[in-house]
Structures are given as C-alpha cells and as structure tokens.
Symmetry: C2
Subunit: 528 residues, 2 copies
C-alpha cells in the first residue's frame, strides 16, 4: 500500500487573493462540491468574519453533506495582549462550526517586530493560547507557520520555538509556509530535516507560493523530506504569483512518486476539476498547464506528429487518459503533410489520394494565419477549408448583405438579406447585443430551409484584439463555439471590426453544422 | 567573481512550437535584437530549410550586428545510411552561416528503433559524422542529446555512448534534454553525476520541458550539479506545456544561487524583455509569472497591504526594482481601508479626513464588481469613483444619445449628441470599426471645448465576454488604455453589448484625462 499524502486545498481562501478573482457565495459552494467529488481531503472555505460573503458561506456550508472532504475555517491567532475567548477572530472560527480549524501565526521574528509590533514572548503566548482554546472546544487544529522558511533562515531557534509551542498546545499538524515564495528546494529540505530532528513527533505539512516558479518542486521536495500534508490550489491561483499548483502536484505524487492522494480511480477527474474551477473563477485558462492544460498533449512540430503517429510515448511523458486529458494535433506553418492527414477528420484518405489538395490546403492555411486567423482552436473552420481544397464544400446559402443599427436607446437591430437556393430571404431581428441580433436574424432566415438549425445554439464566444497598438482601429478575431445538443464545434472569423469577424464565425458555424455529418474529435481520430 | 552560466535562448525555434505562436520574419528579427540587448549568450534562430520563413530569416540575419549574442542554427543529424556532406539538412545548417550550429540526435534506443527505424550503431555514426563534418567547416558545434533522461532511465549505457561519440567528434558542449518534460529533479541530478564521472572532460548543458511543472527546478538542479549552459525560452513558450522559463531561471541564478548570466546591470531589463517578447508573440500575458508578471508583486489581502506599508520585504521575496518590476496594490472585496488609502492616488489625505467616504467608495466598488466590473486593471475608473465618493468629480459633459450604423458594405458610422456647458453638440464620424467610429465622433464633439483632447489616443483595447455560457447574449467588459503622449491610464466599461461597454470605457478615459492632473502610478505612491 502506497503511503498517503493529505491534500489541503485553499482555492477559496488563499487562492481567492489572486488578482482577477472574485467568487460569489454560490461559486464557493460549487467549488466545494466539485473538490469533494474529486476526493480532496481538506477544503479551506475562507476566513469567517473577514467579509459578509464568508459569513454567509459558512452559514450555508453547514447544510452541505460531503463525501470525502473535511471543511476547514481559517483565521489568525488572537490579538497581542488579548484573551483568546474574547477575540472576535477566534469566536468567528468557532462559530463557523467546521470540524477542522486552521490558524496562522508568525514564525519570523522580523514580522513579530514590524508587522505585529509585539514582543517575541507575547507572540509565543498568542500561538499557544489560541491553539489550546480551540482544542478545548473539541476542534481539530492545524497550525500554519507563516513565513517559516524566511524566519528559519534569519533566526532558526525562534522559528523552531513557534512550532514547538503550537505542537505542545495540541496542534494536530504543523504546516511550514513559504509565504513569500522565494525559497529554493534545498533550503526547504534542509529546514524540514532540522525540524524533524528537533520536534520528532510533530506531523508536518507544506504550503508554498510560486514567486520563483518553484512552488511545485518545493512541495514535492517537502514530501520526499517527510511531510504528510500538502496545501495548495487547483490551478495555482493566489496572491502575487499564486499558490502551489495542486493540478501538477497530485499527478506527479501519484504517477511518479509512489504516493496516494485521492480515492482510487479519481485521478482521471483532475482535468475536468481544473477546467470546471477555471470556469467558475472566470479566468482565461492556462492552456500550457502541466497535465490538465488544453495544450499539455498538443503536438505541432512535423517531426513530433510523425513520431506520435507511430507511438504516442515518443513525445508524451504519461498517457493523457490517466489524467482525463487528450492528445491533440495542431496545424500551423510548422505543419507537414502528416499534420494535415492526422487532422483532416475523415478526409485523410481523400488527401492521401490527392496530395496536390493537401499542399493547396497547407498553403491556403498558412496565408490565412498570416492575416490573423488561427485554426488551432477552430477545427470546424479548418474542416470547411479542407472540404474546399478537395472541391467538396457545398454552397448552402449566399449572403447578399447585412446591417446593424444600435445606440444608447433601444435594442440592437439586425437586417440580413440571403440567397437560399432560388429564394431571396430578407428579414430582421432584435438582440441583446449586435452579435446576438445578427445570429437571431440569420437563423430566422435559414430555418424554413434547414429546420435542424433549431437545435444549434452558440455556447461560447471569444474576442481577441489582434493588434493592441492600433487600439480600436485594430483587427479583431472572434472564436465561436456552437452545439447541436450532442456535439459542439468551433469556428473563427477575422475582420477589421468585431461585427464583420463575428458574422463570419457565425456563418461558418451554421455552414459546418449543416454540412458535416458525425462531428469527430481529435481523440477519436487518434484511436483509429 | 561569480561563476558564469551561458544562457541559450530558443524562443525562435523550440519556443515557436507552442500552440498559438506564429512569428513573422520581422517578429523574429525584433526578438533577436531584443535578446541581444538583454545580454543573452546564444540565440537559436530556427531550423534553416524547415520552411520559407526560416530561410528568409537566416538570410536577413547575416546583416545583423549583435553586441552580446551569438546566433545559432538548429537541425538534425544526417539521415540514416546517408552521407553528411550530401544531406540537405546539414547543407542548410552550413548555408545559414551562423558561428554556432546546434544539432540534435537520438539518445533513447526506443526512438532509434521506433521513430528513426535504423540500427543503434548507425545512429552513433549519424551523430559522429554530422558533428565531424560541421567541425571540418570550422563551426562551433553544440550537440543536443534529445530524450537523454528517458534514454538514460531505460538503457543508460547506450545513452552514454551517444554522448561519448558526439564529444569525441568534437562537440563543444553536450546538452542533456528532458524532451518529454517528465523528469524529476533528483533524476536529473543523478544522471548528470554519472555523465560527469564517465565523460569527465565534457562541457554540459541542460534543456528542460515543463510537462510536470518542474522545468525551472530541473534546470536549476542541473546547474547545481555542474552544467554550464542552460537552454530555455523567455516566458517559457513551447511545444505542449512549454520550455524551461528563462524569465524565472535567470533571476534565481543571479539573485539566489550566486551565478552570473547577464552583463552587469542587465537583470533590470528582464521585465521589459519578457513583456516585449510577449507583445511580439501576441499572446495573453501570464500576469502571475514569477519576477516579471504584472501581479508578481501585487498585493490584495488587507493584512498584506497593511504590512507592506510598514516594510515591503514582509511580503516580497526580492526587491521588484532588481528585475525592473513594481509593487502594486489591488482593490477588491478583500480590501480593507488600507487598500483604499494606498490606492486613492493623491486622495489618501481626503479619505483619512472623511472615513465615511472611504466606506462609501468600498461599498460602491464591491457592488460594481458584483456586476462584472474589475478595477484592478482600471485605475482611472477607480479614481473617478474615488472623486465621486468625495463629491469632487466635475461634470465636464453629458451624453444625450449615440447611434452606430454598420453592415456588410461601407465604413461604420457613429452619431453622437452631447451637452457641453450650455452648448448642444451633434456630430458624426466614420471609423474602421464601431468603437473607432464612436471614439472619433466623441473627440470631434469635444475638441472645440477641450483642445488637450488632441493629444489623447487609445493605445490598447481589450474585450472580455463575462459569461461564455450565454454566448452572444452575454455581458461584455471592455478595458481601454489611453495615453496623452507622456502618461497612460486605464478605464473599464461593462454592458450588455460590446458597444455600450466600449462607449463607457472611452467616455471615462476622456473624463479622467481631462480632470485629473499629474497622473501617478502605484510605484510612485509607494515611494512616498
């Protein structure tokens, strides 16, 4: 049986201190449910009393039933020269009614002097009093030793004293924090070795920040050095450069370091978990994220693509299925004909018979990329180009003209005029925004001829300004994702204004949906 | 004198294999000039002959004069059972006329069997022949041992043989590559120790990928283990999860590990270098990047802000000036009144006298954030709110109405009607896109009353769809950056359509520019 490492997620507290993050109470509850399903051991819910949102969260969390996780509340030790029982932070922690409470205190003498402005002896009493008080109420207590590694480098005896009083007062686990994120792995390892020799019966945890891009390495080094709890954040959000990224730590511990962190079989959920939380956090996802990123197993160079067609492990360090991710093949000016064959869904045979069409397609694509198109995230637009190159793209309708009218009052209004077969259709629609009005007018015009359009709906819409230097006069690229309820597909449009770009992406999304049967994904192709 | 580590940047070759990257020849030349000014030792320009772009690049690079860097060309060893002198890749490498050539060969027997499909003996001859041939032409040769660490784990003797033949044939440096990015630091360290004991006089380099989020740690561990060249990419772009991030490696080597990588004083240029390359690459910047990210020294939690006001090293692992970055303070629902005082540029005194206004401002801001506004990146909009809360915001003009008309033919046209003082102004303008037309019409209307507007121009424009699930009917947030030639400022608008959001951001950018004298930045505030 592999040794277990307890994962402690602080997405909702330390993670929420990241720039650009602002969770609603509903968001926080969604994330708790998701982390619990994933199998995280401890979920830090927030700082009860810090703001009205966290108070409401802990109130509502009382009725949650969790399968795997224990919810924890976070707060500081009592104030200097105060009494734990009368301290509002300490009272708030108890009122949250979580099974585990995590409190943080100061290990770095400099912080005691400058930030707390109290004596070093009083700081030790603050730690001991607060831990004992919470223990007296029957709670499990974790003690976060803030700035432990900085404190240890400057005054190791005092830093050790702060741990010792927390341990003696009954803290179940002592978490060593690299709060400023500047430590190197060898410093982490040496400090932990000394802590273990000096306080041999303490259970230890690690809490790292990523200010030198070493939070993952530092956390793993700490596990190798003997800690049994790892704190971090799925996707690594957090103050400044973020917290240790659990999306990278968990797979490495399970797949490469012989440790267990999750219930059996749950590692496959990590890509979904990461993306779901990213969605709730409403941040631009990091496509390059290890294990879980959209590009983590994406191959672009011609040599790589030709090798993975023979054996995927030539350029993949693990099987992407083990983490619920998938292999993708990208098309770009670094592509060779292998990329085209790999990619051109269901058309590989046609291109093998017609190498001239493959060269034509590659050349057309490179020239469109030069104009600002990007097909990596617009497989449906790429398929339409592929059909074009083979002379197989059917013309389903023709746009004669469209117009948009919008302003400070009234809803945007779109007018479209199309030719569908022999008919000319001229219609109009209102919409919430200009793109919405165009989309509505277009469907209205086409629906009588193509009733399956009723099932299509736009599910995502992204705008990228291509040349920030020209500001509002810059080119715009729009990506649109459309679904028919069973499958979804992506298209791209580029134009000198956002409406022209959106129009093109919407037109292609409808055209693709109507003419391509059985939409397949990369991973299905790979399994051929 | 601190020992030197040679930095070898492969932004233009391995970095360009990242998803979403497509450099023009002009981009590549800009990046070479920037990296040279920064003081990088070796710049890998590309793979001559791989595509027309790289051929043109090396042709034009012949006339570049570099101050610090040596340009290198990259390619593979000769084909199996061929002759180096007749091999087109080898000929292309010589034709590029760079002082240094880097070739890669296979160290992993599995790749020799499966990808190359040749014998292991022939692979050794391919390496030896190619190195000797290039040496015979008087070039310095670096040998990249692809998949060295994977090969070493499976067949260490064969992997060592591949290094030995490259070394014996005259390769100046042998670079050990963790091509699939899955190695752990201890594996890197053990393998390097064995290589050094078996081929003691070889100079070694390291080339890591980030598939387990360990590329920085692995590169640093390799330096500690004795390598003297580090390959990587500024900002860590590259195939899959990217290459080792030089923006993190260089500062850690120089500030924390006692090595030198750059000419004296150049470390301060690293933030600019990172952002410039990001701009040329046209990627969404990683704000959380260590050392160089916009958020790397950004403080949000109330406790952190109150501590850094006393001493910045309480929550900063290095002085941001050493890497040319700056401290920032963020405003959010985690803010306390310290954040407001820190942030409200020049108004700190007013808020200290009027705490009711500070509470009012915090409440107003939290409610706007709830609607989708984000002030972290819109300091000018925040300043307008602060003036409002203090009753000091002047009304410079009033919008009566505006309209936009655009379609498949003709330029977008905007009409605006404003009240400025006693006058009603009603005017119109064309523009490249709808936002541009509105911006032009607004300036035209205001210019006679506020001639300083002539100096304002939009320098950046960003669009974020707030709720992808509602697609084109979602809310939109627009950020605009405006400059008056000396200073620049950021504003935000949110609306149910992109035009309404853009209009609001543009209105505020003009209002701020007109009413706030002496625009200050966070780092100026910090120095008070």
């Amino acid at each position: 049986m592999k040794p277990f490492v307890d994962i402690y997620d602080t997405t909702l507290r330390d993670g929420a201190q990241g720039e650009g993050l602002a969770y609603t109470v509903e968001d926080k509850l969604k994330i708790v449910r998701c982390l619990d399903q994933f199998g995280i051991a401890y979920i830090e819910g927030g700082w009860p009393g810090a703001n009205p949102k966290d108070i409401e969260f802990f109130e509502r969390a009382k009725s949650l039933t969790l399968d795997h996780a224990k919810l924890t509340a976070f707060g500081s030790t009592r104030r200097a020269n105060g009494i734990a029982a009368e301290d509002s932070v300490v009272q708030g922690l108890l009122a949250a009614e979580t099974p585990v409470i995590t409190i943080f205190g100061k290990s770095w003498d400099f912080h005691v002097d400058v930030a707390l402005k109290t004596t070093r002896e009083e700081n030790l009493r603050m730690i001991a009093d607060t831990v004992s008080h919470l223990k007296a109420y029957g709670r499990r207590v974790f003690y976060d030793a803030e700035h432990f590694f900085d404190g240890f480098r400057e005054n190791s005896e005092y830093a050790l004293d702060t741990l010792r009083v927390a341990h003696q007062a009954g803290a179940e686990t002592i978490i060593l924090c690299d709060t400023n994120g500047g430590s190197l792995p060898e410093q982490i390892v040496e400090s932990i070795a000394l802590v273990r020799s000096r306080i041999p019966d303490a259970k230890l945890g690690i809490h790292c920040h990523n200010d030198a891009e070493l939070a993952v390495a530092n956390s793993l080094a700490a596990v190798a050095a003997g800690v049994t709890q790892v704190q971090g954040v799925i996707n690594g959000y957090g103050e400044r450069c973020g917290n240790a990224n659990l999306s990278s730590i968990i797979p490495t511990l399970e797949l490469k370091m012989g440790r267990r962190c999750l219930p059996d079989g749950n590692l496959r959920m990590i890509t979904h978990t990461s993306r779901y939380i990213n969605e709730v956090a409403n941040l631009v996802p990091n496509d390059r994220a290890a294990y879980v990123g959209r590009s983590a197993f994406a191959h672009k160079g011609g040599i790589h693509v030709s090798a993975i067609a023979k054996a995927k492990e030539t350029y993949e360090h693990i099987d992407p299925n083990t983490v619920g991710n998938e292999t993708r093949v990208l098309i770009s000016d670094q592509s060779g004909v292998s990329n085209i064959r790999f990619k051109a869904d269901g058309l590989g045979g046609d291109f093998a018979e017609n190498p001239e069409a493959a060269r034509l397609l590659l050349a057309r694509m490179k020239s469109l990329e030069h104009e600002g198109y990007q097909f990596e995230d617009a497989e449906a637009s790429f398929q339409l180009l592929a059909l074009d190159a083979l002379g197989k793209r059917r013309k389903l309708f023709e746009v004669i003209e469209y117009h948009i009218w919008l302003g400070s009052s009234g809803e945007p209004e779109a007018v479209v005029r199309l030719k569908v077969g022999e008919d000319e259709v001229h219609t109009a629609s209102l919409g919430v925004g200009p793109a919405h009005a165009l989309d509505q007018a277009l469907r209205k015009a086409l629906l009588p001829h193509y009733p399956e359009i009723a099932k299509f709906h736009l599910i995502d819409f992204k705008v990228r300004i291509l040349d920030g230097e020209n500001a509002t006069a810059a080119k715009t690229r729009v990506h649109v994702e459309t679904s028919n309820g069973e499958k979804s597909w992506n298209t791209v449009g580029v134009g000198e204004n956002i409406i022209a770009a959106t129009w093109q992406a919407i037109i292609e999304s409808i055209e693709y949906g109507l003419q391509v049967n059985g939409i397949k994904r990369d991973y299905e192709i790979n399994e051929k």
